[in-house]
């Protein structure tokens, strides 16, 4: 029986009392997201933030313990910072604040990478994303919208429906996690999970960057070459997009579309 993949429906009928808090949490997250998104009118954001925190806390309460309170504290601190700044990214009115919250979310994910032993990726995320991409975004924002927010930053497309959609997506993913990684499945997976000694020889090896480089330039060598070509093409393409000027004599066919003002 345990080898048979069970459907979500069958699993739900068996475990309905244990997962009763999920729909409540989904509703709280959905309404909270609706309240913190820009809706064209003021008020309700503090209530929405409280609802969101309660809902996410209910979801987090379903997760199992790591077994060591020090790891537990660090993981929840980092995860909380990441999720809260992710929500801040989509709910702030001023795009500059959005970019800054996004930078904080990137720092959070970088720290999470370091927490699970992917130091190189943590540094790469902070340097490439927070250091280069977000800064370029801020440059464009300063160029295009130096006065801060505009009226369209205080409006959204269907905030209630999209917030509920997102909450239902979170619900389904949490239920999938609960059904595939929780309960009896957790014991089976724990038997297959790597031991600390195996991790010490594998991804947690002391020479982390050396082992990453070894894998990257042997098994993934062609992919590295393709990524290099992709970066070159993107560089040329970005320059071409900005530099290219529409010829006014040849562009008379486009005049009807009201292109360039």
């Amino acid at each position: 029986m345990s080898d048979m993949p069970i459907t979500l429906e069958a699993w739900l009928t068996q475990n309905a009392p244990r997962v009763l808090s999920y729909p409540v949490a989904t509703l709280l997250v959905g309404v909270g997201l609706w309240l913190v998104l820009p809706r064209g009118r003021r008020g309700g954001r503090a209530v929405g933030a409280v609802l969101l925190l309660v809902g996410l806390g209910m979801l987090a309460a379903r997760l199992p313990m790591l077994g060591d309170w020090k790891y537990e504290t660090v993981l929840w601190l980092l995860g909380g910072i990441t999720v809260v700044s992710g929500i801040g990214t989509i709910s702030m009115r001023s795009p500059v604040y959005c970019a800054l919250w996004f930078a904080l979310a990137l720092l959070g994910t970088g720290a999470l990478f370091m927490f699970v032993g992917a130091q190189f990726l943590g540094i790469a995320t902070v340097v490439v994303y927070a250091g280069a991409i977000v800064v370029t975004f801020l440059f464009v924002l300063m160029l295009a919208q130096p006065e801060g927010q505009d009226f369209y930053d205080r409006l959204s497309w269907e905030p209630l429906l999209s917030a509920l959609t997102g909450a239902v997506m979170i619900l389904l993913l949490s239920l999938a996690l609960e059904s595939s990684l929780g309960g009896t499945a957790a014991a089976e997976l724990a038997a297959k999970s790597p031991t600390p000694q195996a991790l010490e020889k594998g991804i947690l090896a002391p020479q982390h960057v050396a082992s990453i480089g070894g894998v990257l330039f042997s098994k993934y060598l062609i992919a590295v070459q393709v990524a290099g070509v992709l970066l070159l093409v993107a560089l040329v393409g970005a320059s071409a997009i900005v530099v290219y000027q529409r010829n006014p004599a040849a562009g008379s066919a486009d005049a009807g579309q009201g292109g360039r003002s």
Binding site: Y129, A223, I241
Partner: protein, 147 residues
């Protein structure tokens, strides 16, 4: 450390980040904020991949995240070049300005009520006047004006 619990916690964080990014991409109207939301979804995927990499004791997930970072850098370069071009065309970052790109024969979107700008409470500190008021330096003012 309980590896299964770690995997499940990280997958939950990744799922929430991904859903947040999707909501932002669907709802926001500023081009740059939409793009930031898409990048947020990518971060959610990256967290999940690194969690699986840890569980399987295998570098494959981390390699994929390296390529995600490379592709995101390309994407950001192209998108920002496009945003600069589009902004020169229409003078706004609102997606509604490009609504003619969608299907034909659809009614145009017109904002029924435009929200009022939020009144900013700018309270500057006031210093008590002290000493005598200096005479205006006309030469310096003219020089500044020319610069």
């Amino acid at each position: 450390m309980n590896e299964v619990a770690l995997l499940r916690s990280l997958l939950a964080i990744g799922a929430i980040l991904f859903a947040t990014g999707v909501i932002g991409l669907l709802t926001r109207r500023n081009l740059i904020v939409m793009f930031l939301s898409a990048e947020l979804s990518l971060q959610g995927i990256a967290v999940s991949l690194v969690a699986w990499s840890r569980y399987h004791n295998n570098f494959g997930g981390q390699m994929l995240v390296i390529f995600i970072i490379a592709v995101a850098a390309c994407e950001a370069a192209i998108a920002l070049a496009l945003f600069v071009k589009l902004f020169h065309d229409r003078g706004t970052l609102d997606v509604v300005a490009w609504q003619t790109l969608r299907e034909e024969n659809l009614p145009p979107h017109i904002d029924i009520e435009v929200p009022e700008p939020e009144a900013r409470e700018e309270k500057w500190p006031e210093l008590t006047p002290a000493g005598r008021e200096p005479a205006p330096n006309l030469q310096q003012q003219r020089h500044r004006a020319r610069v």
